[in-house]
Amino acid sequence: MGARLGLIAAIIVAGALLLPLSAVAWRAEGWGGLDPSDWGALWFTLWQAALSAGISVLLAVPIARALARRRFIGRSMVIVLLGAPFILPVIVAVLGLIAVFGRSGIVNTALGWIGVETVSIYGWQGVILAHVFFNMPLATRLILQGWLSIPGERLRLAASLDFTATDTFRRLEWPMLRAVVPGIFLVIFLISTTSFAVALALGGGPRATTVELAIYQAFRFDFDLSRAALLGAVQLVIGGTAALVSLRLTLPSGFGAGLDRAIPRWDSRGLGLRAQDIAVIALACMFLLVPMILVLGEGVLNLTGLSAGVWAAALRSLIVALVAAASTLTLAFFMSKAIVDLPRGGWIEVVGSLSIAASPLVLGTGLYILLLPWINPVSLALPVTTFVNTIFALPFALRALIPAMRDLRDDYGRLSESLGIAGLTWVRLVAIPRLRRPGGFAAGLTAALAAGDLGVIALFASPDQATLPLVLYQLMGAYRMDDAKAAALLLVLLSLGLFWLFERGGRRA
């Protein structure tokens, strides 16, 4: 029964993705319709993504290396900190980066004291800075996994051969990096080509407009649906190509387990190397923490002064997050059951992961085109946002649930069958208790991502339907920074709080 429902779920997901994407392709009329500014957007999208991925990986290597070979109090906190940006609402981080690197931020203030020209965060440099803020921690965690996968025996052997740190790097670490880094680079490249909120808040203008932002502008300012669709098709080609290339590479599962150990090393005991590692870790923590502290710390002061409109937006975001979490979990549950039970269920996982290649704005454009003949799409802003978030969280939820579902079948499948436990009884007595942990993680991740999402909602929403991230963006646009910081605090409490609650709930018992 469950497997058949999973099949139906997979078909629904496939339709929900392919129909809007076909609508985009159908509305996009001829590549000749691309004007020079569109080509500029395509070019900027590609080079900023390449640079973002490159810088993220370059910075991540020394940080991961330092974390791999040092043991210190608070190391596990650093690992948690490196995981946080993944569920941190993008617009909050942007606000934090503005507080540090903006015109009146601490960096420019310091530069002013020593008489150096101030730098602006708006433009390509801001877009890349924000992408590095989000992806350097991800890259660090993934590279750290690579480092920890070097067998301890090899390092002992290296020590017995009196390797220096340079020898170890050349013989052991460099081959590992060469194996893992290209995949990580591609993943970050892909993420950076589809990131919309960063470009919306920090980019713009002829020299810093991404394809995603161009879609939004064609849609929102020119109301040129066929141009939006054409740009959507361009974005689809970028995402599809990158996804095809990365098909063979393992994608990150977001929160790798087992990073809480350091491998003993004998070659890096020197004072210089130790100081270098301490400095690297401290700088990385500062880079991640200072923006957050500046936003959230000042946000506390204004929390009580928030208008009723902000609270109403927070309520809308909460509902979007909860519904998205419930629907993602339901889809992922039945789909992973079908993947595990059916002889050729592998294609269902492919369907569930298709959204990795698409982008929320493209999907949103497609939905708009599909809905337009029937209903005013703007009236469906919140359902569409919920739906898009469900589809985009599905790959992560599947990655969490499939291994657990497989264990469940291998360990207790025959026992359940031999006792005649099936259907809803199986769900209640066996599946829910055994899948609590990955289920709670998946629900928490979906809720956090949906609560903090600033994507299609920007495309669809009218003022009376804004979610909290959109209100926050509007406050920033109106230069009401105090209110923005308070709203940012509220948003962080909402999304990290939801993640924490679901994840804890899954771990209990």
Binding site: Y412, R414, L419, R434, A509
Partner: protein, 230 residues
């Protein structure tokens, strides 16, 4: 009477042929070298592996196409017999109703069977708080509670130490006798078969030989058994 009527099992290259009758009452051991297909045969009887050919009947009723839970038999696996997140009482109660909505009479029946296997007062514990032997007892209790005429065991108690294992085998023999259960037990240990099995059936060269009295078989081993014992 459990009848394997011209059964042929196939798993990839592997083939097993069985055309035998297991009589009611008493314990029959199923022996054979590792890889001979003992567990595969048991899985087929329990309903996890559809035979490529032939029928399985119990007392004349064809069970070949019945789902595992509806067959007139209970099954004890090597391990993983209990759900770790359910209490002992719940695990045992599954034998009465898979949805665990037990009436008060059924709860009394459950508690009395727990008492019979020596687990009085341990109903509220989780399996992880039980010793290996106690976990085996709980699984046995559930099999008793289900009241199916046949009990199939796949290398039971093999995770237990020698003393506990012989204790559990004795408990199995005694309960089988007092409850009138017919037992079919896969084992690789000749001493287990000698200790409690009335009859022993051997699998060799992809064929199940008919069961014969254990004592006689071991006193005068067939070539196949001699090859297995080494």
């Amino acid at each position: 009477m459990l009848k394997l009527d011209q059964i042929r099992l196939e798993q990839g290259e592997f083939q097993l042929f069985a055309d035998t009758v297991f009589d009611e009452g008493g314990i029959t051991a199923l022996m054979g070298a590792s890889g001979s297909g003992k567990s595969t045969l048991l899985a087929a009887i329990a309903g996890f592996l559809p035979p490529a050919a032939g029928r399985i009947t119990v007392d004349g009723k064809d069970i070949t196409d019945l789902p595992p839970g509806e067959r007139p038999l209970s099954l004890l696996f090597q391990d993983q017999n209990l759900f770790p997140h359910l209490t002992v009482a719940q695990n045992v109660g599954l034998g009465l109703r898979p949805d665990l909505r037990l009436t008060s009479d059924q709860k009394i029946a459950r508690d009395s069977v727990l008492e019979r296997v020596g687990l009085t007062g341990m109903g509220n514990r989780l399996p992880r708080d039980l010793s290996g032997g106690q976990q085996s007892r709980a699984a046995l209790a559930r099999a008793l509670l289900r009241g199916r005429p046949w009990l199939l065991l796949d290398e039971p108690f093999s995770a237990l130490g020698p003393a506990l294992r012989s204790e559990m085998l004795t408990l199995l023999r005694d309960t089988a006798k007092s409850e009138g259960l017919s037992v079919l037990m896969v084992t690789h240990a000749p001493e287990d078969a000698r200790m409690i099995a009335d009859r022993t059936a051997l699998i060799s060269d992809g064929v199940l030989e008919p069961p014969v009295a254990t004592g006689a078989l071991f006193d005068d081993p067939t070539p196949a058994l001699r090859a297995y014992l080494g």
